[in-house]
Subunit: 343 residues, 2 copies
């Protein structure tokens, strides 16, 4: 039942020509007559020929595959970046392999190894929270394989990258809270080794300073930013009795956790505590009150990444100078931070 795959040799034999002619005919080579092209195409159709891209890849030395490494696929942000990448690549000959690192350095390494073995033509990656050493990424570059980092960017690592200006996003968010009359703004910060979280904290601090407010280290709570952590941090805040009038969280998840607990404890959002998250996760528009957040243009980020790769493949010969593209994030103001008495 399982018919053997037909190869160009099978077609050639049937037509009493050589495989090279078949190959050329299939690729619409100018030196092949129209008549042979037609008969080859017809025979290919008849024999249900399907090219073996592995063989072609081996010969050409290029697989037409690109690998994407993301921490997890079930975060709206990353899924959306992937969509952006696919949007751009679907019109090309490239296919996409997606690997998840689960924010683990080990998995990230093994993902890279697998992608390298699969001879991918390029790797797009958002590195794991655990990652502080980039040697495994440098291996990729040494191999001459285009590497593009997205979202999570490391300044000290000279490589192509696409990200958003997390600093600006955080600055906008914090300033918005200040404009809403908030005086005591807690910041849920992320791990310091990840640049985006450092930048968000810096944006928060700068916004305070420029508005003549003091940066109180006690108001900066560093964590893994998960939903449950947002809950527990908030419980601690409440039991501490020192209730802030706003929370700017570096993640929508921990912001959500905070909102849940605050509501449960009878605090009004945004009147008692205004809340702004970060990432524009899909649930933020669905919860009540809708959560203000910072949109990172995730899809556009994926598109930029893919286009940067394509551009680079065009001028393969030229020596490459890494560049970073920084998108401007957008503050999305919803009910969780919009106080009625303000304009």
């Amino acid at each position: 039942m399982a018919n053997k795959k037909t190869t160009i040799h099978d077609i050639a034999r049937e037509l009493e020509i050589t495989a090279s002619t078949v190959s050329r005919a299939l690729k619409d080579h100018p030196r092949i007559s129209e008549s042979t092209k037609k008969s080859v195409l017809a025979m290919a159709e008849e024999m249900n020929y399907q090219p073996n891209s592995i063989a072609a890849a081996l010969r050409r030395g290029t697989s037409n595959l690109v690998g994407i490494i993301i921490p997890t696929a079930d975060r709206n942000f990353f899924a959306s970046v992937v969509r952006g990448v696919e949007d751009v690549l679907k019109d090309t000959s490239y296919n996409v392999i997606i690997c998840q690192s689960d924010d683990s350095l080990e998995k990230e390494k093994s993902n890279i190894k697998a992608l390298l073995e699969a001879q991918v033509d390029g790797i797009f990656a958002s590195y794991a929270k655990e990652t502080t050493n980039f040697d495994h990424y440098k291996t990729v570059i040494k191999r001459g394989i285009p590497l593009i980092l997205f979202d999570r960017i490391q300044e000290s690592f000279d490589v192509d990258a696409v990200g958003v200006d997390d600093y600006v996003g955080a600055y906008k968010a914090t300033e918005h809270l200040i404009e809403q009359g908030c005086k005591k703004i807690v910041h849920f910060a992320g791990p310091d080794n990840v640049s985006i979280y450092r930048d968000r904290k810096r944006g928060y601090e700068e916004a305070l300073k420029r508005n003549n407010m003091l940066v109180d280290e006690d108001l900066i709570l560093t964590s893994d930013l998960k939903l449950e952590t947002g809950r527990s941090l908030t419980r601690e805040i409440i039991s501490g009795g020192n209730i802030p009038d706003a929370i700017f969280s570096a993640s929508d998840y921990s912001a959500m956790g905070a909102m849940e607990i605050l509501k449960k404890e009878g605090y009004k959002i945004p009147e008692d505590v205004a809340i702004v998250g970060f990432s524009n996760e899909s649930f933020t528009s669905l919860v009540d009150p809708a959560l203000s957040t910072v949109d990172q243009h995730s899809k556009k980020m994926g598109q930029f990444t893919a286009n940067m790769f394509l551009e680079r493949m065009k001028n393969k010969a030229a020596t490459h100078t890494p560049s970073k593209t920084i998108l401007n994030p957008e503050l999305i103001i919803r009910k969780s931070s919009l106080r009625a008495e303000n304009p």
Copy 2:
């Protein structure tokens, strides 16, 4: 800078042995002496050797790749299935290529074509909503490539499949609403060509019948089940003036849309209208009131799918008889459907 890739031939030359010996040494072949193994391994390390799995794939005729086709990656359910698959496959030599069909038949076809050309060893797919004809899937089977359908299953199509019993899930959900005292239960149904939606509707109808309630066709609203559609359907219901006391939606999204509008219009959930969705999307536990829903064991579904594939690869020789595995869904009761006066 970009060092040429080192091959087993390079290692062989350096060690003054042949490539075959290197190949065997690397694979820990029993007929190779320990000493050569050691020197080969050392030299491989020194020369930074990375196997070319494409070459191996061509030779062996097996790529160690499996393709997953999902409608979209930014739905929690599908992302979660993918995680389940990866959980199982990460301990094997298989890598995963993810393709998104966007619920479009055309894209689904081109995804299959690409995966076939990539010589994947297996394809796991949840077919597009648009798909009514399965000829492109039959091509996969004809080629002798293991195909496993998940979630969306077609009974008339004799193929391996893993799904949940949508009928049972819907039945449980509807019966739960009845137990809560609901008398007039609207059902948001999905496209009839997709079996899971047919099954959910059947579960809804059966639950009504067995509880001596009439199935009123006017209460069954068929749509694409999107968030916005949930909103507009609900607006229509309200403007029609004939308010039900419960909604069982075949999708969390349209359930969410309904809940939004109902709340906005002043209806109390669940007192005035109880709501149950389907799929246990991540936002369902975050909204207020938390949305009751049906969990489909998405991750487990992915694990089953991958294991089914692995099992099949083990007995490759044996003639294969397709089988379907049906998981039992779990009703998750949250506030949106739990009326206080009931136990």
